[in-house]
């Protein structure tokens, strides 16, 4: 599973493959993540120990349940995990720190699906980004474009497929300017499929590496808008067979149990290949991602941890599992 950017992207251009991450940047990221999560690993171990180490009584298991539910893991998944841990504790006599570590292992397992890669070996690779209103699609695309252009030295074209929300195109255009990449736009209210089609055409014409297509935010319960999303997907495939190669769904980390329904409905319209878990820099833990991974087999591939351009990061299930249990 991916731990840094070089693990996330599959590239078949050897001269580009080894784009080294500047050590200070990585240090910067770790610091930022720690700051944003506000706790350290040591603090976690203390917490887990306090929860399960001393007496494995009813109350400590309940407290564990509470921690997971408060992290939006959901009642069903929580009951499952805690039950398994309880059984293991009884069977193997596991206790103390080892039990805490085992819990994190269990959660990491649940959060892990596949290798988490984003395959950029198509030419161009088409990435479609969808999600509910306000989950951070446009911002995610901006950060992703910035990373691909500035850090991976790839040529990127953006397609401003959100032709519905007022000023959405202007917002994406600003991100394109910051990232230093081209953007294809249509008029307000124009057909998002046409914009997507044109973006891929432009990408092919200019021999771009990656085309990222934005879409309007939509509630997963709006059948006509979900049908529109399916259409954008079909249009992309028409312009370039096999496109979109990656369909990313942005899920706001503050989302509760509704996140599972979102992922399910979006997947029905346009099979989702990865989740971008956004806004993890708040106090929300994004535990719903575990339910999405378990029930639908869709991995989290990227996380959003802040407002800065470099605040989009690869997903690390282990770190994620630890963070879930922090107070």
């Amino acid at each position: 599973m991916a731990h840094d950017w070089n693990d996330v992207f599959l590239l078949d251009r050897p001269e580009r493959e080894a784009v080294a991450e500047a050590p200070e940047a990585r240090g910067g990221f770790l610091r930022r993540l720690r700051e944003s999560l506000g706790r350290t690993r040591e603090a976690l171990s203390a917490e887990v120990q306090a929860t399960v180490a001393q007496a494995l009584d009813e109350e400590s298991w309940e407290r564990l349940e509470e921690a997971l539910i408060m992290a939006d893991v959901g009642a069903v998944t929580t009951a499952d995990v805690v039950e398994r841990l309880e059984r293991e504790a009884t069977d193997t006599g596991l206790s103390g720190e080892a039990l805490g570590e085992r819990l994190i292992e269990l959660l990491t397992e649940q959060a892990t699906v596949g290798d988490g890669h984003i395959d950029l070996r198509h030419r161009p690779t088409v990435i479609m980004v969808a999600g509910v209103n306000g989950t951070g699609k446009t911002t995610t695309i901006g950060k992703l474009a910035w990373h691909l252009v500035q850090e991976q030295q790839l040529k990127v074209v953006l397609g401003a497929g959100d032709t519905f929300r007022a000023a959405a195109v202007e917002q994406l255009a600003e991100w394109a300017r910051r990232a230093g990449c081209e953007i294809v736009t249509g008029d307000d209210g124009s057909d998002p499929g046409a914009v997507a089609f044109e973006a891929v055409r432009r990408g092919r014409e200019q021999d771009a590496d990656v085309v990222i297509v934005d879409t309007a935010g939509r509630l997963h319960t709006q059948d006509d808008l979900m049908a529109e999303l399916a259409k954008v997907r079909r249009v992309l495939d028409k312009q370039l067979e096999g496109a979109p190669h990656e369909t990313l769904l942005t899920v706001d980390a503050t989302t509760g149990q509704n996140g599972l329904r979102q992922a399910r409905s979006f997947s029905e319209a346009a099979p989702v290949t990865g989740i971008v878990l956004t806004k993890l820099d708040g106090t929300a833990k994004g535990g719903i991602a575990i339910a999405i991974a378990r029930e639908l087999g869709i991995p989290v591939k990227l996380i959003g941890v802040g407002e800065q351009l470099e605040d989009l990061r690869p997903f690390d299930p282990g770190n994620f599992a630890r963070a879930l249990l922090e107070p």
Partner: protein, 444 residues
Amino acid sequence: MFDGLSDKLQATLAELRSHGTLTEDDIDRAMREIRLALLEADVNFKVVKAFTTTVKERCLGADVVGGLNPGQQVVKIVDEELAALMGGTAAGVAFAPRPPTVILLAGLQGSGKTTAAAKLALHLREEHGSSVALAACDVHRPAAVEQLVTMGERAGAEVYRREGETDAVAIATWALEETRRQGKDVLIVDTAGRLHVDADLMDELVRIRKATRPTQVLLVVDAMTGQDAVNVAQEFAAAVQFDGVVMTKLDGDARGGAALSVKAVTGKPILFASTGEKIDQFERFHPDRMAQRILGMGDVLSLIEKTQKEFDEDEARVLERRMRKGEFTLEDFLSQLKQMRRMGPLTSLLGMIPGFSGQQLRNLKVDERELDRVEAIILAMTPEERRRPELIKGSRRLRIARGSGTSVQQVNRLVKQFDEMRKVMKRIAGGKMPDMAALLRQGR
């Protein structure tokens, strides 16, 4: 919007109803189910705990155990406690004794502040006849100002913006002066989305609050928010002492437990519900009715209010008379259909009818395009044909099909369905109520 929760509570309580008397065991089992349902609905863990404890205590009281109809009393207690938790009657905007009234909107990124600001502006213009201005104070998100300008135009509210200014506090101060100068009744201040743990941005919000001294501060909360809603609400309450909440994206299928949580931990009422992409999909939040709705009793009151707003009463009386006499024509049907559709999508109306919530409604997808076709077919008829559908045969059928862009089969089906409907109406007039769900299935 709370369909899922009401389904689950109903299932649990139906089981209770089937028992003669309640044992403590029964109550515990019911509480477990309620607890699970509330957690699935994203009601905060601690709120759920407190809620089930209270309900259980009351259920264990003498008036339940050994009572005549214990199941019903549990329903009543749950209903009462939910109602208490959600708050009393619907409250609106508090206006300043001397204008302008200043309303400050705050919330997380993506909660829907800018859309809510424009919708609130339209609401105040329409419901209170206020002249409204919007202050564009989101200097952080790219193109946020442009979004507010466009939305403000649609709402008929002036947008005060200052290009190049990066200090949100300065914009807010200036906008307030403009509001006074131009004699506007209300200023709505739209602010950037911010995380409750972002000290700098929270400080900016506090300074905007100090500079504008708002009559009311509203927190905008996404109905899909999970357990974190409590943290968010508490932090914003501590920083800017908000007075009420706007719940957004309530048109989705989120069970909206966040509404319960926020109210329970801050004591602040939910004032408005934002329920769609259109600018007029914004209404007063009715906490008392919401509790009833949670229990699957349907939001009958909301439906009645909506109906009253849209239907012409005299016209309705005339219609009723004609229905009774079996004189109902396709023309009447068309005008009814149009009035009904003015109230919003059919599914949202159906959701308010008791016995129509939950699973039933999910299976019953009303295709709005089908209604478009029905309208087109009727519009392609001559007035005479609308009054006497039995005239529609052979070449008339073909003409109507061509004129409406449909097929002869579709015209036929409509005429036949209309005939069925007339029969049903006569039956209703005779005092027998039809099975609504079956009727709708038939109509499809």
